[in-house]
Amino acid sequence: MFVEEHDAKQLISTGGITIPQGQTVQTPDGAYGVANGISGAVMVKAQVPTGKRGKGGGIIKCDTPDDAREAAERLLGSELSDFTIDRVLVEGCADIAQELYAAITIDPVSGGPLLMLSTEGGMDIEEVHATSPDKVQMVTIDIESGLGAGQAMDLAVETDLDPQMHVPLAGMLLTLYGLFRQYDAELLEINPLAVTLSGELVALDCKLVIDDNAVFRQPGAGPERHIGTALEIEAKEQDFLFVELEGDVGVLANGAGLTMSTMDAVTAHGGSPANFLEVGGMAYKRATPALALVLKNPNVKSLLVNLCGAYARTDVIAEGLIAGFHELKPELDVSFCIHGTGEDRAQQLVRDELGIEPHESMDDAVREAIANAAAYTGSRP
């Protein structure tokens, strides 16, 4: 779950990290009002649930409250990374002496937290790491003992900052690690982390991604604005794992690995999948609404149902699909391949209820579905 900048900053501020004075607003006049209450220049920043706003023109520096109103007028209602901007954050500018980068993420190699610290803030850390790896300190953290004070101090001393900054920076890293753990973060990144002319550390931007599996124990995280196409958002609200693609072969399979492999086979045989949708795992008893989702995509010209049951029972999935076919009566051809747990009954159900003979081989089913899509002459709504 992506926590938007303003909300993430509130969370780290409560934890003891300094953030600029500011507020989110939904109108240009609101932007004027907030800017008027802050001395000096302000930043007007689009609040959308995605990164890379600076490059997209979503962050504007304004010298006067009138400029802030104008910037808000320009941003509000416009599109940024597929989102309509409906609020902006107006906040004070820091007197920046230096910009740092500080982040904690999860390292799949060590299986534990990874702290990254760089004196090249404000930039894409992957670029910095690629061009000057010596400018990025990376330390894996033992999750059982946590980030130690000595470890944090060593990191701070290794930077080329004024020695007066070492203790405050080490303290900030300890706070950051505590917040990373407290909020079940996959990523907690402060970039840039400003060192001000008066020697303060201020988080100018903050990115927080909370583990979706831990949202249940993060009541402070607030509601999430889902990312994706309208259909993807609808699917997510129904707890389906769905990704919309550009092709015309609608894919229904059980399990993430099999579903991805089915899409791969469609591509390998010269076709183009319309979606990723998994009806396995916990979703295997919900095949009816899953089918409805796939059919809602107007690009779908044929359907491919590929089941290979292990934990998921293919006969239960088939029952759900058949109920969906009877209810929705889709006017397109369907190709089946069904194997694994419950296959005999599932195949018989498809034969009896839909009059369709399932393919023995997955490749044959894939090829037929591609040919059906190519031969499709109907016009679906």
Partner: protein, 286 residues
């Protein structure tokens, strides 16, 4: 890994899934010796005695492996209890375990020198011997005793390839389901190292998917192996930044693509299939 037939503890045995799969495991040769559910000590499930704590079960039975059937949010408590009590291997089946919990379980397992398989995994199958987890180990269409080692992140793709193997006249020495999470206790590299030393295995089928560095790490080990490796990577169409069903299956920052994994494996000497059905063809061509 689990070289000889383990005595198994089922944590969460009194739940509907725990009970169903305990019955299936018992009917198919698995030595389930005890179950555990807090507060349910003294009951029996399918003839298996239930204890309230892992320690009480350990007092009465030799236990080599615990399989955890509890829901995701209770997994950490159950896994920590088993590892701290001294159970040498733990399999976590649940999907949606918070990744911070997984990191803690993994750190504890390393310190205690316990093996962890999962989370979000289908378990392990030794055809003709036993199975532990939620794969239909009894299905003679998916599993037959043989000499191919199969290791997969995904249960469903594992099922498909196992089906193709058996239809093609092959059998498995073992099927290991590693799990679809970004962090799992047993990696492809661990599995390859085990299959390389396993006297019952002649060749290994590795079934990976997009996301994370696990396939690339495994590729580093392949040149030192004496046994051939056949690989397939799912998710060749996966768009950037979208989770493809599994929490761990996401291409991000241009990393973790199927193409990069396939290239790393091929360069290391693995035979890489472009579609699932090609796996059997490549095995035949060895």
């Amino acid at each position: 890994m689990i070289s000889s037939k383990p005595n198994v503890l089922v944590q969460g045995i009194t739940g509907s899934e725990g009970t169903y799969w305990t019955e299936q495991m018992l009917a198919n040769g698995t030595s389930v010796v005890a179950g555990c559910t807090p507060g349910k000590g003294g009951q029996e499930v399918a003839g298996v005695p239930v204890y309230s704590t892992v320690v009480e079960a350990l007092v009465q039975h030799p236990i080599d492996l615990s399989v955890i059937f509890v829901p995701a949010r209770f997994v950490k408590g159950a896994a920590v209890e088993a590892i701290e009590a001294g159970v040498p291997s733990v399999i976590v089946l649940a999907e949606f375990v918070p990744v911070h919990d997984t990191m803690e379980i993994l750190a504890l397992a390393r310190r205690a020198e316990a093996k962890l398989i999962g989370p979000n995994c289908p378990g392990i199958v030794f055809p003709g011997r036993d199975f532990v987890g939620i794969m239909p180990g009894w299905s003679d269409r998916l599993f037959a005793p043989g000499r191919i080692g199969v290791v997969s992140r995904s249960g469903s793709l594992g099922a498909l390839i196992n089906l193709n193997l058996v239809a093609g006249g092959f059998g498995q020495s073992a099927f290991l389901g590693l799990g679809g999470d970004p962090i799992v206790g047993t990696t492809f590299r661990d599995a390859l190292e085990w299959f390389e030393t396993d006297p019952n295995t002649d060749a290994v089928v590795l079934l990976g998917e997009v996301g994370g560095p696990m396939e690339e790490s495994a590729a580093e080990f392949i040149p030192s192996m004496s046994k051939p490796v056949i690989a397939f990577i799912a998710g060749q169409n996966a768009p950037e930044g979208k989770k493809m069903g599994h929490a761990g299956a996401m291409v991000s920052g241009g990393k973790g693509t199927a193409a990069s994994k396939m290239a790393a494996l091929a360069e290391a000497g693995a035979h890489v299939a472009s579609v699932p059905s090609e796996v059997v063809e490549l095995l035949r061509a060895l």
